[in-house]
């Protein structure tokens, strides 16, 4: 029991679902302990809540069954616990789905733990947030408010014998901290150990982003076998060393560079990476390439956890209208710019529009268009004009789509391939909240 072994088979909702096989095989071969799936980006949860509002049995990870069907039998047979936030906005329904799946597959009934307490409702919370974020909280528009919960309930559930832990919003690294705590029996204030497990979780939580995904630049940093990237594995020793690797026979690469990029991903102050569990400090971290797709990470320090929890509040944010049209050949960019100018004049000040000239200048530019305005016209012969605007009134937002369509006959020569989309938008605000306003709990699925 000196080394804790854990693998990650998903880094976001919508990740590849066929990476789990080699991860579970590696865990079985090495006597590993836990498999995690991370499926809950900031916005995913609010979208899941909207789904649940329409269907009270939905609102959890849509790919739940695709994720678990290939691995549930092996995990139950080899006592590999499964820990995930795939419960999203509806952990109880996700848990029932897993129980049903196990029955269908003729497996023993798994002990499924369901976490609760991340979703915040009620006047106390609304009052607190309205005070903290004056003018930013519109109760009529609220979709959901969720606190980032920590590892405590995950650890308790596993120690009580859970085979599967279904969470909603927990901090991503807590998916690793919980099982590591249960394995080693660490206390809730063993800051050094919790910080190490937190950074192991941070390295795993985005799946292949540490094993060669999201890394390749042909000619500068090439990655083999990107069509078949191995999902990551981590070993944590009792004395605090992390080793990151990937399953044998998979594509991708684990080296000091892939690990360093992921180590700093979405980190602000490296001396104070804040989670509900601990304040992790990687300001003196060391990363050593052991060769053979194995990298060791040392020198992580831990400090007491933040007093408060982070919460995200999501609100309905009007309608996002987007539309595109292509121009190719002589004066392509000039025609695209003329088309944008026509749209602006047709829409007037009522609908503020962003303009992209895809193929010349787009994603680097700002919404206000200052970079676009300063960008000299190019001789590009293949431009896709993309415009976007947002408005509370659906009918006003829709005008962008109609005006774009009209460019087929009323616009510059040779415009083609119009595509339009209108989507409801979600806005979010973040705040810190006292822990007593967001009590977490867990229970076994009855």
């Amino acid at each position: 029991m000196e080394t804790f072994k854990i693998g990650c088979a998903a880094g976001f909702s919508g990740d590849r679902v066929d990476g789990v096989g080699p991860v579970v095989k590696s865990l079985i071969d090495s006597g590993g302990h836990t498999l995690i799936f991370e499926t809950l980006a900031e916005r995913t949860l609010a979208l899941a809540q909207l789904t649940r509002n329409r269907d009270p049995d939905a609102g959890y990870e849509p790919l739940l069954e695709d994720m678990l069907r290939p691995c549930l039998a092996d995990c139950l047979h080899h006592n590999i616990s499964i820990v995930s936030n795939f419960g999203q906005a509806n952990p109880p329904s996700a848990a029932r789905h897993i129980a049903r799946l196990a029955r269908e597959m003729g497996l023993r009934a798994p002990r499924i733990a369901v976490l609760a307490g991340d979703r915040l409702e009620g006047p106390d919370v609304m009052e607190y947030l309205s005070r903290e974020l004056p003018g930013e909280i519109d109760s009529n528009r609220i979709v959901c408010i969720n606190a980032y919960q920590g590892a405590e309930e995950i650890a308790q559930a596993l120690q009580a014998g859970a085979d599967v832990v279904v969470a909603g919003r927990v901090s991503d690294p807590s998916l690793v901290v919980g099982p590591a705590r249960a394995h080693f029996g660490w206390g809730a204030n063993d800051w050094q150990s919790l910080a190490i497990a937190t950074m192991a979780g941070h390295l795993l939580e985005c799946g292949t982003q540490v094993t060669g995904g999201y890394f390749a630049v042909p000619g500068l940093k090439d990655i083999p076998g990107m069509h078949d990237l191995g999902f990551p594995l981590a070993e944590i020793t009792k004395d605090g060393q992390i080793t990151i690797s990937k399953p044998a026979g998979t594509g991708g690469l684990v080296n000091a560079r892939t690990v360093k990029e992921q180590l700093l991903y979405e980190v602000h102050n490296p001396a104070a990476y804040l989670t509900p569990d601990v304040t992790a400090d990687i300001s003196q971290v060391e990363v050593q390439d052991l060769g053979g797709d194995r990298v060791q990470v040392r020198g992580i320090r831990g400090w007491p956890r933040p007093e408060q929890l982070k919460v995200n509040a999501f609100m309905r944010g009007g309608w996002l209208a987007e539309a595109e049209i292509s121009y190719a050949g002589v004066q392509a960019e000039a025609r695209a710019r003329l088309a944008a100018d026509i749209l602006r004049k047709r829409l007037g000040p009522e609908l503020r529009m962003r303009v992209d000239l895809i193929g010349s200048i787009s994603v680097f530019a700002d919404d206000a268009g200052s970079m676009l305005d300063a960008h000299p016209p190019s001789a590009s012969r293949d431009i896709r004009l993309r415009v976007a605007a947002v408005h509370d009134d659906r009918h006003i937002a829709e005008k962008l789509l109609k005006e774009m369509n009209a460019l087929y006959t009323c616009g510059p020569a040779g415009g083609g391939g119009v595509r339009t989309s209108l989507k409801p938008r979600l806005n979010s605000v973040s705040a810190l909240i006292p822990r007593e306003l967001a009590p977490a709990s867990w229970s076994f699925l009855a």
Binding site: L220, Y265, H268, D356, A374, A389
Partner: protein, 128 residues
Amino acid sequence: MTNPEKTSNTLVEVPLYRLAHGRTGDKGNISNISIIAWSDQLFPIIERQLTEEAVARWFADRRPQRVTRYALPSIGAMNFVIEGILDGGVNDALNLDSHGKALSFFLLDFPVQVEKEIEATLPDIPHF
């Protein structure tokens, strides 16, 4: 801008991607960009030239409210935290890339002055 590397006439200007690699992350309206030296000896060159002020100027079109640089010499890396450059962030921006995921590649074009002898050792993209 005075050039701290200017000790001789043997300097050449190269894009930052020849000295470092990096990745962008986002939280709300804050972007963080890691810049990781290809080798330890390149780290001091980057550290001298890629200052908070220089990065703020490089992103001027996006009107950064604040740029904070954290150095991690033990891994030859720096982490830039750039506030207010995502037009509100993933849920508010009209940008196709509302996360700002491309922004590390904007910074990797930053011009850096290096000695010619060093330039010869740097990785480069294929030139056709």
